[in-house]
């Protein structure tokens, strides 16, 4: 029972991050038809920039970090993600989208993903880094964890990560639903040419959506980062799991995308923790199962089936 509780709490905390990424992917897809395959890498960029500013150029992390450099790092990281999002739109998406060249933006976006990944690989010399925790969670419970029966522990951070994710998702959903900006975005999504004719600044709106996706996901990643070591793969994994969640709900509404993210988080944590029936799964299958699931779902849902009269 204690183990179930642990899986649920840590699964939801991981899933909150995937959910926020899925929101960004779904919003961008509904606006432009683009699937932002580089989003995870841009998020990793934010995490590494935050780390650089907060912990200094050597990236040697002190056990705790004072508030001022961390806030500076957070802002710098967010700015990096937002700028990278806008940059991706202008450089890699817009030139091709206008001419209807699907292959073009696909190629450019995956190339951007690997350019960012290459830059991060160059910056991160060691295999993994510990992200400083600005909040004193280690003073709660025993060393930051709640001890349950049978030696099972639940990190207190997990509750915080999940709560932040939930709030961000709800705020985003409301903003997209109710605000002027959200309405304008919906107008662009349903009728791009019409929106252009009514004088909406379509280009700026779309760049804004890319910025939103980048910033949102970066927040999620930075909040989550102290829980697990940061490696070159951190961003790729986040991006992929977010993509899996978005695929599960067919790039649907923000709330559904967030829910799907939570489901992905729960599934992967369960897979990594349990022996399922006669199948002895384990940590090696943690990344394999969600991806395989998404491939099957894609074939089965026939997403965006080619229009045939």
């Amino acid at each position: 029972m204690a183990l179930v509780l642990q899986v649920i709490v840590t699964g939801l905390a991981a899933g909150a991050g995937y959910g926020l990424l899925a929101i960004g992917l779904a919003v961008i897809h509904r606006l432009t038809g683009v699937v932002h395959l580089a989003l995870g890498e841009l998020v990793a960029l934010a995490v590494v920039v935050t780390l650089l500013v907060a912990a200094g150029p050597d990236l040697v992390t002190p056990s705790s970090v004072s508030a001022a450099p961390f806030v500076g790092g957070l802002l710098a990281g967010l700015a990096a993600a937002v700028l990278a999002g806008v940059g991706t739109y202008w450089l890699a998406v817009r030139p091709f989208l206008r001419r209807g060249l699907t292959l073009g933006w696909l190629g450019a976006i995956v190339a951007v993903a690997f350019a960012v990944r290459g830059a991060l690989a160059a910056a991160l010399v060691r295999d993994s880094y510990v992200f400083p925790d600005p909040l004193p969670f280690d003073r709660v419970g025993t060393d930051g964890s709640l001890a349950l029966s049978g030696g099972v522990t639940i990190p207190v951070r997990a509750f915080f990560v999940f709560a932040i994710g939930l709030v961000l998702a709800e705020v985003t959903a409301r903003v997209l639903d109710r605000s002027r900006w959200g309405r304008a975005l919906r107008a662009v999504a349903t009728e791009p040419d019409g929106a252009h004719l009514t004088g909406l600044p379509v280009d700026r709106l779309l760049a804004g959506a890319f910025a939103l996706a980048g910033g949102l996901a970066a927040m999620a990643a930075i909040v989550q980062a102290p829980s697990v070591p940061v490696t070159v793969d951190t961003g790729s994994l986040l991006g992929l799991k977010g993509l899996v969640a978005a695929v599960l709900v067919g790039f649907g509404s923000p709330r559904r995308a967030f829910l799907a993210g939570l489901v992905v988080g729960l599934v992967e944590t369960a897979v990594a923790t349990y022996d399922i029936g006669p199948l002895r799964l384990g940590a090696e299958y943690r990344d394999l199962v969600p991806l395989a699931l998404a491939v099957v779902v894609l074939g089965w849902r026939r997403l965006g089936t080619r229009a045939v009269e």
Binding site: G33, V34, V35, L37, L91, A92, P95, T102, L103, G104, L106, G107, A108, V110, A111, V112, A113, F114, A115, R117, G118, A119, A121, A122, S236, L240, L243, V244, V247, E284, Y285, D287, L288, L291, A292, A294, V295, V296, L298, G299, W300, R302, L303, G304, T305, R306, A307, V308, E309
Partner: protein, 626 residues
Amino acid sequence: MSPARAFGVAVRRFAAAAREGLADARRVWSRRAAGWLFAYALAALLVPFALSATRLTDLAVGLYVALAAVGLNYSVGLAGLPSLGQGAFAAAGAFAVALLMSRVGWAPAPAVLAGTGLAALAGLVAGAGAVRLAPPFVAVSTWLVAWLASFALAAFPGLFGGAQGIPVGRPAGPGGIVPGGDLTPAGHFQVALALLALALLGYAAMRRGPAGLALSSANQSPPAAAALGIEPSGRRLGGFVASAAIGGLAGALAVQAEGIADPGAYGPLLSVELFVAVLLGGQGTVLGPVAGAAVLAGIPPLARVLASATGTGADRVEGVVAAALLVLALVAGGTGAAGVLERLRRGRRGEPEPHGRVPKGPPRKRGRRKAGRALLEAAGVTIRFGGVLALDGVSMEVRPGEVHALIGPNGSGKTTMLRVLAGTLRADDGTISLLGRDVTGTSVRERVRLGIARTLQRTAVFPNLTVAEHVRAGADARRSTGAIRALLATPEARAETRAIAREGWMLLALAGLRGAAGSRVGSLPGADQRLVAIVTALAARPRVLLLDEPAAGMSAERREDLVELLDRLRGLGLAIVLVEHDLRLVRAVADVVTVLDAGAVIARGTPRAVASRKAVQRAYLGDARA
């Protein structure tokens, strides 16, 4: 027939086919082509003497990468499936070979076959779900497959060798193929060159052949292709599987050339590089992927130079610089190097002259209802869209040599009726029969085969195909020889192709489009595009032709052309159902007019008789006097 005689007949037929084939080959094999082939073979034989074994191995591996890129083009260029997972299929081939050779002790040749087969199987599984998806989701699906493969390779270091990889023995020394099927560096270089040439020839043949034409049309306009009875899914899957198999073959051989299977080398980056290579060269062109692979091969050295120019840690910066160069090349390159070459060549040849007018036929006879059996018959067709009754028990029949016009106000159900006749829409009630045979439940493709062809309301052409190619694509549904026979150019397939070309030529003459046969249809004026759409539908050799507003947007002058064409088709005994808003045109060509209003037939008869009916005037002009 006695066995001996049967044998004699078979020999004679074979000899005839061989003679014909040689004659064809002589026509195609210009002196220049033969020269190229000779130079290619000479390079394959002589280059190994000039280079060291290491250099040869590098070259061979580079050629295998090009082979994987050419293979990917079968999926991207032919089948219209943007696959970001070619690296995963290469990995399937590579690791199958490595494991079979190092763990089971297989000889290289059977291991390569097994690796290729495994990659093809993986392609079949991955492709089965992907072929029906829209292009961006094909990319998502294959992208996930690429990462899945890379995670699987990393998750089981015990099986796949982990960071060290799996070593595969390779022979040293001179000579090509060592007994037992092992290849030396020189042998790999020659095998790679030969396979690359084969893959390119196969691509060129497929692209020009009926399968390539059908796929190309389906990629450009899915609804128009569907209306012609072209069903692309099976061929798309075929292209995807071929692409995976060639990728697997390339991986299987590259592992043997390098002597090691390294899990790190078969990650998603490889998939991305291959995809970008295809784009850089220009997808859909024959030589594009090779050009792209060459650019790709040039990027690491360039990145190294740039990185060392910026100072320290050259190898660490290399990855960023290489990827950034890829982005730049994509944004700057557009359609790719080979695309530019092709455009230059086309520009030099010049666009063909625009065509003339539809030639005048014999004087028309019209107005008399033909006696005899109805060709196409609809009885009591009813369609409901939710609560709306779109068609309410509509019956009609069309005889050979008769133009039957369907008119009525907007939303009266004309196009809906046409869709029911063509088979794109199932009636809730009622039957459709062709020559007395019930065809109510048959698919579009089946109906096209049986002789019901249709054009769409919007301009339903494939902008990047030429007029002549349209006619060939239109004949797709009635072709009986498949893609493999076309690829091998068997006598049956070639006879069929010739017959279709001959007939297509006649059809073009009928519509006055002969002069435009070589033009891209996208470059023709709208009126011509509509005539092309009609001729394309005719290529399926229909008995019944369903036309949806063929005159929309045509000038008065071009409408006369259309009238002339319809008259001649009527003269050939075709039954034509015409949905049209322009009543002048209807009066000029129709033998019978059926007027629909709100899904029901309100009048039927000759154009003159129908025009004078009160109900028709009310439906068109409103109920002012009532």
